[in-house]
Subunit: 423 residues, 2 copies
């Protein structure tokens, strides 16, 4: 069974190492040895401390994919092109594919699944979401007899590290980001993480899997964590909550909603104790009830472990002559606009400390048919803090409410607005 | 694709209901409909509110298994015989089997796996451990390219409910047990749960899966929770821990140890916040790192969801003509005796409040080469409480230490001894 490895960075290096170290185990599990046919890299002549002959390295990725002795292509380069071309070429030739390419899957997963089904090959990508956490396989297979209603995940380790540090130390966002950068948990340019782009790509992949429908990253409503303040975290704590960047995919009849935004969740929720760079995905299904999958969300070795798990499954399928189960989408669900999604809001207002403020504010909520769950008013001398937590209402109604609250004469400032989940 | 269902209790009823409700979805996922060929029950004439014709019910389980049109046998009767006979008969005829029978798998899983491999059929049993939590599939498949070093689980909902209530309310064991019985979380005869027999069976299955070797329930060291006291829980809290009934399977070279006993774990450990009747399994693997799987550990619908997931996988394998991957054991690991296992102990002693007690006690630890991590002495007037937490030592050395401590003149009573895990 011969493998073409495309890319040999952090994860690819660990894959090569594991293939070497575990070769006897892998051969026993598959029924024959897994052999590296070649490794495509940009600089094949670079010195590498890897237990493989140097002649395996090549700069010609497409040539390697096209080699007739290659059975499985492992794509770890990332990005849309040329990765998509390599993957579709491989599948058209009847080769199975293992990839960790979340950008490509989030943009064009449906097409890739259709191509895999048409060629009768496997397309596995456990490494694309939450690294080593076995997640896609359970969603695709174990819960097949069930109906998933909602998936709520912490799928970005950088933002979870930052929010965890803010919670532990009371630090502000910038300070926690600097710490994350110093410790290597955040990149020099952290945009993809802190603005929620990375989580949105993973949300699209998770939604597609959970609901067997096409969702792309551009369908995902997205807010990052840059405006989360130390006082938001403190407000959350006051109501027994913590702040997390959540990706939420839920199904309501023939509609799905997919969104990424910071939210308050109760400390008793299993996701609340997922701290630091760890990831977790909480799944609600009609029969199975509440499930959670927890583990390392990044890192060379954990991600390589996911790639190896896929490789074994794909190799066994090929050896047994199994035609891959078609994963092509068959539900045609529509993605609902964020404005129509029902959520709860936690709103903090700096107001004048005078009679009638609460009545005026309550009227604004009533005008927009937003029902209030709790109100707390803390006088601070001249001004007061008014904290309102709403019942569920459409996001559009809540947004309009906040806009109008800001215009009330007694409201000095809308100090913070955050969605509340997991209640 | 025709299914013989053996047993129609709590779980079987939900399986029938899900097969009916989800029939269109299931047919789409498998590529053809799943059809019930018959349902074997003790009393076929009993009135049942199920969406299937009454003539499907039969008292002749073996006759149903033998029917040539049956492709898959779902065994939900439990117990060793006659379930084993039905399962082996089915497999010998080339029929795949889905079961939730943990007693049988814990006693004779190796033989069943060999029989499945010999006949080239699937043997799936996701429902046997931690009900709906997709666990066996990830252990069998997703982590195939990795090496699992340790599995630590909360796999019995009854005991977890009792210990959670003791922690929340300060109640003693008997009081919490009564409450669990009142609420239906514990049986009238709770022995199998509170003495750890149920957890030991699951531990054997988990160990076999994690380490690809034969482990039976009788190989599992077992202590229940009947001697866990309110003061143990309070002592745990004082050192930032909670008490859980853990099943622990670990591998050290060519040896495995499998044990079930109450233990203190730090509140920061992901298993610490698994409360009530929920189950969770924490997995440590060389490459994947730390993973956790969380969900409902019992209940008709969650367990039925696991059965359905297996059914879909098995049906798809049959339809694709896949020969089942052999799960026969290939590692021949030996099970280490509990005395050789290294653990940490938390020991509380009621001692005379006088000079020299600590020195005498410390000498006993030193004599057995058990290293002390922390000591706390709280005077209470005439007597004192001496609490010692050790570093890791063999269980035999720790047990001998405790035996000798009890004989010291100044020691009035060994108030409690509990292992400490997850540090």
């Amino acid at each position: 069974m011969k493998i073409a490895l495309l890319g040999c960075g952090n994860v690819g290096t660990e894959v090569v190492r594991l293939l070497h170290e575990q070769s006897a185990d892998l051969a026993a599990r598959i029924g024959e040895p897994l052999e590296l046919a070649g490794i495509a890299v940009r600089r094949p002549d670079k010195a590498r401390d890897l237990p493989v002959p140097r002649e395996l390295f090549t700069a010609d990725a497409l040539g390697l994919v096209n080699r007739p002795d290659v059975d499985i292509v492992v794509e770890l380069v990332g990005g849309i092109e040329p990765a998509r071309g390599w993957i579709t070429t491989a599948m058209a030739q009847g080769k199975s594919v293992v990839t960790g390419n979340k950008a490509l899957l989030a943009e064009d997963g449906g097409t890739l699944h259709d191509a895999a089904a048409a060629s009768g090959v496997d397309l596995y990508y456990e490494a694309a979401v939450a690294a080593a956490i076995p997640l896609l396989r359970p969603l695709r297979e174990s819960l097949h007899g069930d109906r998933i209603t909602k998936v709520t995940g912490i799928v970005n380790g950088t933002t979870n590290f930052i929010l965890s540090r803010m919670t532990e130390t009371g630090a502000g966002f910038s300070e926690a980001l600097s710490e994350a950068q110093d410790l290597g948990y955040a990149e020099a340019d952290p945009t993809a993480d802190i603005e929620g782009f990375d989580a949105a790509a993973k949300a699209a992949i998770l939604a597609g899997l959970a609901f067997h429908t096409r969702v792309t990253a551009s369908d995902v409503y997205r807010e990052g964590i840059t405006s989360v303040s130390a006082s938001d975290i403190a407000s959350a704590a006051q109501m027994g909550c913590v702040v997390k960047l959540l990706c939420i995919a839920s199904r309501d009849g023939d509609d799905v909603t997919v969104r990424v935004h910071p939210a308050m969740i109760p400390t008793s929720h299993p996701l609340a104790s997922v701290n630091g760079a760890y990831n977790a995905v909480f799944v609600e299904a009609e029969a199975a009830g509440r499930l959670m999958f927890y583990g390392a969300g990044a890192g060379g070795a954990p991600t390589a472990s996911a790639v190896l798990g896929d490789l074994v499954a794909v190799a066994r399928n090929r050896r047994s002559g199994a035609r891959a189960a078609s994963e092509s989408t068959y539900a045609d669900l529509s993605v609902r606009h964020m404005g129509e999604v029902t959520t709860r809001y936690h709103i903090s207002l700096d107001v004048d400390d005078q009679a009638g403020v609460l009545a005026a504010a309550a009227q604004v909520f009533a005008d927009h048919r937003v029902s209030i769950q709790t109100v707390r008013q803390d006088g601070r001398g001249d001004d007061a803090l008014l904290v309102v937590v709403t019942h569920k209402a459409t996001d559009a109604a809540l947004a309009a409410t906040v806009e109008e609250l800001a215009k009330l004469p007694a409201v000095r400032q809308v100090a913070s607005v955050m969605r509340v989940e997991g209640g």
